[in-house]
Symmetry: C2
Subunit: 205 residues, 2 copies
């Protein structure tokens, strides 16, 4: 749809997406209503359906897609590299900084996953696909580090990538009530230790 919008239309559409994202963070998907979004963005019902003919479900999916893009962008250029220890550590720092910048220890995508699984199969499938794509990029990174001799050749990149992404998501879940990054950092650093422990050169005590 974006291709047919004027610049002003594009801005309005984006304003609606961002305001909806704020409402989801504050009240969950269940606590988000089109009336609330209209009030926050001073838009009319017909404007809302002009930009999002599928109503709330379409709008929530567009929020998830936009937040997924933001999240990936925050991890660049490192996420596309990860062939060195420096790259892994820069990736880890960029990710922690991204969540810190959100002002809330929550993954905009991951925090929707359970509610989506229970209420909107299409949204749940989209979130699962975003997680698989993210996991795939981490697995590619493990393979690059492995090719460079930084990880044991016997390590399974897919399993390590799943463990790293689990550390991100589970770490955020534990960080949220503590209002601190320490659980996220502890989880991420433990996984970077796993990678490092597999490196032949670091197996020397």
């Amino acid at each position: 749809m974006d291709g047919t919008l004027t610049e002003r239309g594009r801005q309005t559409r984006q304003r609606i997406i961002e305001a909806t994202g704020q409402q989801i963070l504050a009240g969950g998907i269940g606590g988000t209503t089109l009336d609330g979004v209209r009030a926050a963005t001073l838009t009319s019902k017909s404007q809302l359906f002009h930009y999002f003919p599928g109503g709330k479900n379409e709008l929530v999916r567009e929020v998830a897609a936009w937040e997924g893009d933001q999240l990936l962008a925050a991890q660049l250029p490192w996420l596309d590299d990860l062939s060195t220890w420096e790259s892994w550590h820069a990736w880890r720092d960029a990710l922690v900084d991204y969540y810190l910048g959100l002002g809330r220890w929550a993954c905009p995508i991951g925090s929707m996953a359970w509610e989506a699984a229970a209420t909107d199969p299409e949204l749940a499938a989209g979130i699962a696909e975003a997680m698989r794509a993210w996991r795939g990029k981490l697995a590619d990174g493990v393979r690059r580090l492995q090719a460079a001799g930084g990880v044991a050749p016997t390590s399974d990149p897919e399993r390590l990538a799943a463990a790293i992404l689990a550390a991100v998501q589970g770490g955020l879940m534990l960080s949220q009530p503590e209002r601190s990054s320490w659980p996220l950092e502890a989880a991420l650093d433990s996984l970077l230790d796993v990678l490092r422990a597999g490196a032949p050169a670091t197996n020397v005590p």
Copy 2:
């Protein structure tokens, strides 16, 4: 309240709690209604308020408490030990079996955490407290293994415990859309590798 209930009253109350737990798994907290619980349990409105005077919020908190108790019980007796590798591996297997037995790759407590954070501060505080208690038991286990010489004395038990619990919660989140335990097992096993890597005796290549 339990103390003043007849055996039959206790059974009815428990039946209501379990039916509510099923509704939360199927539709989230937001998708759970007292009318739905009444229909599923064939109870009257006055019965429901007799057992749960605080209405839906009280009922959801009782579900979380009951599910938290079930989850801890499933990890016994290992969770109270964890002083040996055998104990850690038996704990890991019992936990995976527990989630397998639920028929759904989700933590009954963890899957409520994000929605609770957005909608019910008292419930969110209760879930956070349950997570801290669980994390504390894992940290005690790391200390016992450390005292037995199984973990490097320089390792921080609180950080390792947070990383292990993050692996459980994040692993479940990735397992759910895959309908498979492999991401959970990959995340858990990576963390057990971290513990093991810290053991002086296993640092020998």
